[in-house]
Subunit: 118 residues, 2 copies
Amino acid sequence: MTQLQHNTPEELERFFQKGDLIPAIVQEASTGQVLMLAYMNRESLQKTLETGYTWFYSRSRQELWNKGATSGHVQKIHRIFSDCDDDTLLLLVDQTGAACHTGSHSCFFNEIWRDTDE
Amino acid sequence: MTQLQHNTPEELERFFQKGDLIPAIVQEASTGQVLMLAYMNRESLQKTLETGYTWFYSRSRQELWNKGATSGHVQKIHRIFSDCDDDTLLLLVDQTGAACHTGSHSCFFNEIWRDTDE
């Protein structure tokens, strides 16, 4: 069972003041690991809130995308936060399998810089 | 002291194939808390890599922005990761003071949805 809070279609418009897509950060609830970032349009956000599983909008394919629909690697949502100016979302999820299409658990596996003091 | 890895200006072009700005997720290294998301252009990414502190590009003010330059709430970077398709960055930082201009430690303080099973 899931619960909506002030999230009618009209109220959700606050997330689309700067554009038709809002970036959504997906973080694993149990470990805190950041898994991926993807984009939501109005319809995918609505489906996410209705189902409790992540739906995104693919900019390259220009279509809705139910994460895990083909791979089985679904993301069950615990909590969703918006940021201070309502232009980014943060989703805490249970990740089944790998979040990344490469098979990596997280999409952020390329380290490009490190503080050498560390 | 900081260390660059294959990050000449030419090599950094891989992060700007989809646009002139790349979203950068800022996560607190010690706690795993996601603090904010902001955008980098080529120049702010270069300054970030050179200094080991975060520089962003403000879309509203259309200028470079050294996080904490006025508030003192700087972000010292431990590690930077890119994602599988080089269109998002993840920065693990030590946050001095609050990341959010509201005074909140994280910008993600508005909970908009929760799984009622939880």
